[in-house]
């Protein structure tokens, strides 16, 4: 059996309160401090966080629900967040709900049962019913990447409209007029914003938006490959495609390979996320890059703040982080 505070008390001849005080950074007489440290060393004592949690009603654990762990955007966010939380003694329990609203509900219930102190989520269910329930618990909730109507809580987002319009304007500047887009699911917040940005860029340039140039994928590699192939067959005049997440970008590249088409000669392409992949492509891809690690760190920072005694009653914060357009060689200049 692992040693307990009682053992330390017995060995040192001190009371429990003294040990507890020492462990929690309180004042202890020098000679006792030495004794306690010696005993802890000898008995390999480690605080039992379960007992502490029962007493303090805090598990020092944060729950995270994401649509897909096996997705660079998500895994990078978690890397940044987990790191920041752990350095403050918080554990992170990550649940992957496979973009399934049912599994999302199960994951949240699971985390509630585990008594996490707070929840960070990249929501799948756009209704947010599960979240409304969670909010009643008065525990901090942070939304990442997607907002939900009627849910007022801290959110960390990127500026999707600007990101998309910057990408599309870049294509327009290079002379493209028939620009396809492979967007995400119609009902996803982020996806809508990116489509808005696509339309806004067209408006700014005075180019009408053509419905046939708009495809909705589901953020998978497969849908990216299918998407670009459909776009091409439907739109003989299309000279460029903007793809709105990493997996679909990779899919689009696969799709072109399958048709033996080359970028930028046959078609220009602007992708999304994952600089490494962009550089690995030949020629390298022009992409919109999101500050994923920063998103995770920001979420952790806000969570830590809410969890501390001070930052509880402040208004919900909406953080918008910027993206960068990183130029590769996948866009042909056809202006003349």
């Amino acid at each position: 059996m692992a040693a307990t505070m009682k053992d330390i008390a017995r060995v040192t001849g001190l009371g429990l309160a003294t040990i507890s005080s020492y462990l929690n950074g309180g004042n202890v007489r020098e000679q006792n401090r030495v004794k306690i440290e010696q005993a802890i060393e000898d008995l390999h004592y480690e605080v039992n966080e379960v007992a502490r949690g029962l007493r303090t009603q805090a598990t020092r654990t944060v729950g995270v629900v994401i649509p897909e762990l096996n997705n660079v955007f998500c895994s990078q966010i978690i890397t940044g967040m987990e790191d920041a939380l752990r350095s403050e003694g918080y554990a992170t329990i990550v649940c992957d709900c496979r973009s399934d609203t049912g599994l999302e509900k199960e994951a949240i219930d699971f985390l509630v049962r585990k008594r996490v102190d707070g929840l960070v989520i990249v929501p799948t269910d756009i209704q947010g019913r599960n979240l409304r329930e969670f909010l009643k618990s008065e525990k901090p909730l942070i939304l990442i990447d997607r907002r939900i109507q009627g849910i007022h809580c801290d959110s960390v987002l990127v500026d999707n409209r600007s990101a998309a319009s910057e990408a599309v304007l870049h294509l327009i500047k290079k002379g493209h007029r028939n620009i396809g887009i492979i967007g995400g699911p119609r009902d996803v917040f982020t996806s809508q914003e990116r489509l808005d940005g696509y339309a806004a860029a067209h408006r700014m340039a005075g180019i009408p938006v053509q419905e046939s140039l708009i495809m909705h994928g589901d953020y998978t590699i497969r849908s990216g490959a299918r998407g670009i192939q459909k776009l091409i067959s439907r739109n003989p005049h299309m000279t460029a495609v903007f793809v709105t997440n990493y997996e679909m970008t990779m899919g689009a590249v696969i799709g072109l390979n399958e048709l033996s088409l080359k970028f930028p000669q046959d078609i220009s392409i602007v992708g999304f996320d994952n600089l490494e992949f962009a550089r690995a492509c030949s020629p390298s891809l022009t992409i919109v890059s999101q500050p994923t690690v920063e998103i995770g760190e920001k979420a952790a920072e806000i969570m830590l703040c809410r969890l501390s005694s001070s930052g509880q009653d402040e208004e919900p914060k909406i953080i918008r982080l910027g993206t960068k357009l990183i130029e590769g060689r996948s866009v042909a200049d056809i202006s003349d």
Copy 2:
């Protein structure tokens, strides 16, 4: 405040033992069962797993330590494992130690303090000092991907020797005689096994191994890019390269792009992992594919078994899973 068993007892007029018995699947008189269920419903009661954990000395939580979450091999393993564990009510706390032995120790201590019931680890420290300590706790420990000398515990590995020799023999069959390899760090178990396989294939074919054809990377994209460039400058006769993990494979592709070299015309390449990336390359890459999700599921299965009352005293299991060589178009046939 959330409702407790006491509340259920008060509302139903029953004793705590009865409620507990009900919650744990014991026998309860029909009429009481109904009453209890009603009360649970009304009060939104949820078991407090923290209190239960304190009492039962089990948190129903498994700790996982990996060298890099933002690495497809690791994230896919975790996807498979987390899924299997959660469906049995176990939470997974993942710690990313950034391939740093110091951080690995911190992560393990952290998980011990969190009183995880078991530990699954892709070890970074090849000495395994942290693990020796953990083993004393009598809690189940499972090693993934890498074994450690002197640590006897369950392990889930792939057959690295066969994987590597199959890849190299494939190259030899296509007529290659000067085959470079970008291996992992010298001290990593998996990396040694793959190098063994590389050598074994040469022996089988009666081809001497040349030291200059062997590079050691550190499993990062950057080291793959540098690695292939060094190999090329050092070995003018080299016609093919075998790259031994996904990140370095992507790096090698980047490195070739930077030199404006094409595969398979200028050099043939066999990579590792991530079928999607392999298909996204142009032409598609021939790769060794590991059953990552299966590795995670197997680890979860063994952990669940060890954690159950039955499977505790069995001998450590060493599971070896097979890999597949998936042919793309990145290997030129130069036999004549």
